[in-house]
C-alpha cells in the first residue's frame, strides 16, 4: 500500500467515520450510512475501498426478515495514530493481522501535496 493511497483513505471525509462505526461491532452498510450520515452510494464505495485496502472485512452475512442477505463489516484496525509535528504529518497503524505497514511510521506530506 502506497503513501498516496493511505493519505487518500485517511483524508477522506467518510473513511474515518466508517472505521469508527465498525470498531465495536459488525455493521451493515445501511446502518453505517444511517447512523453516520453518509450517502448510501458513497458508503458502499468507500466500504469496498476500505475492504480492498485491508482495513475492513465481512464479519458476518445475515438474512433480513425480508429474505435479503446483508453483509456486516468489521474494522481490522486495532489502533491508528496520526501525528503532526514540526509541519510534518505522520501516521502509524496496527492491524489485527500481519500487514506490511503494521507499526511503521509513514510520512504523508508528499502525498498531501499532490
Amino acid at each position: 500500500m502506497r503513501e498516496k493511497d493511505i493519505s487518500r483513505l485517511l483524508t477522506d471525509e467518510y473513511a474515518e467515520r466508517i472505521l469508527v462505526a465498525t470498531q465495536s461491532a459488525p455493521r451493515s452498510v445501511q446502518e453505517i450510512s444511517d447512523r453516520y450520515d453518509i450517502p448510501i452510494a458513497a458508503c458502499y464505495r468507500k466500504i469496498h475501498e476500505l475492504e480492498g485496502a485491508g482495513f475492513l472485512r465481512v464479519a458476518e452475512i445475515v438474512t433480513t426478515p425480508k429474505g435479503k442477505t446483508m453483509k456486516l463489516y468489521r474494522s481490522l484496525l486495532r489502533s491508528a495514530q496520526l501525528v503532526y509535528e514540526g509541519g510534518v504529518f505522520r501516521v502509524k497503524f496496527e492491524f489485527d493481522y500481519e500487514k506490511d505497514i503494521n507499526g511503521k511510521w509513514i510520512e504523508l506530506n508528499a502525498a498531501i501535496h499532490l
Binding site: 487518500r8 485517511l10 483524508t11 477522506d12 471525509e13 474515518e16 467515520r17 472505521l19 469508527v20 462505526a21 470498531q23 465495536s24 447512523r35 453516520y36 450520515d37 484496525l77 486495532r78 489502533s79 491508528a80 495514530q81 496520526l82 501525528v83 503532526y84 509535528e85 514540526g86 509541519g87 504529518f89 504523508l108 506530506n109 498531501i112 501535496h113
Partner: protein
C-alpha cells in the same frame, strides 16, 4: 464528549463553539484533505486564500470555507490584511498549530492540539497521549 455518546447521537453539526467539538470533528480538521493542505500551506508562512487555492489545487470556495473552519477552531490565524496591486484587500493566514495527535484505539478516538501559544486542547476525554507515542 466521549466516543460512546457520539456513537449514540450520530454526528452533530459543526459548531461555532470550539469547546463543543467532538473528537471526530476535531480529528477531521486534520484529516480532511483540504484542511491538511491548508495547514501545510500556512506552516511558518503568511499566505492568502488565493495563493493556497492555486498552489494546492483547492477550489476557491472550498478553500475559504475550510480556512474559516480552521480559523474558528483556532488552528490558523489571520495575521495581516494587505492591499493588492489592484487595490483589493487580501487576508494573510498563518498556522498556529504546533503539534497535533490523533489516537484511535479500543474504539475510542481522541485528539490533542498543541497551539503555538502553548495552549493544549483535548478532545475525547482525559488522556495522556504522549505516553502512547513513546511506546
Amino acid at each position: 464528549m466521549g466516543f460512546e455518546s457520539f456513537e449514540n447521537n450520530g454526528p452533530s453539526q459543526p459548531s461555532d463553539n470550539e469547546a463543543e467539538m467532538n473528537p471526530l470533528q476535531a480529528s477531521q480538521l486534520l484529516t480532511d484533505e483540504y484542511s491538511a493542505k491548508i495547514l501545510l500551506a500556512t506552516y511558518k508562512r503568511r499566505i492568502s486564500a488565493q495563493e493556497i487555492s492555486q498552489r494546492y489545487g483547492i477550489p476557491i470556495a472550498a478553500c475559504y470555507r475550510k480556512i474559516r473552519a480552521l480559523e474558528e477552531a483556532g488552528l490558523i490565524l489571520c495575521v495581516d490584511r494587505i492591499l493588492t496591486q489592484k487595490g483589493k484587500r487580501k487576508n494573510l493566514y498563518t498556522s498556529c498549530l504546533k503539534n497535533a495527535y490523533i489516537f484511535f484505539e479500543n474504539g475510542r478516538l481522541r485528539a490533542r492540539f498543541q497551539l503555538a501559544t502553548g495552549a493544549v486542547r483535548d478532545f475525547g476525554g482525559d488522556w495522556n497521549g504522549l505516553d502512547l507515542l513513546k511506546q
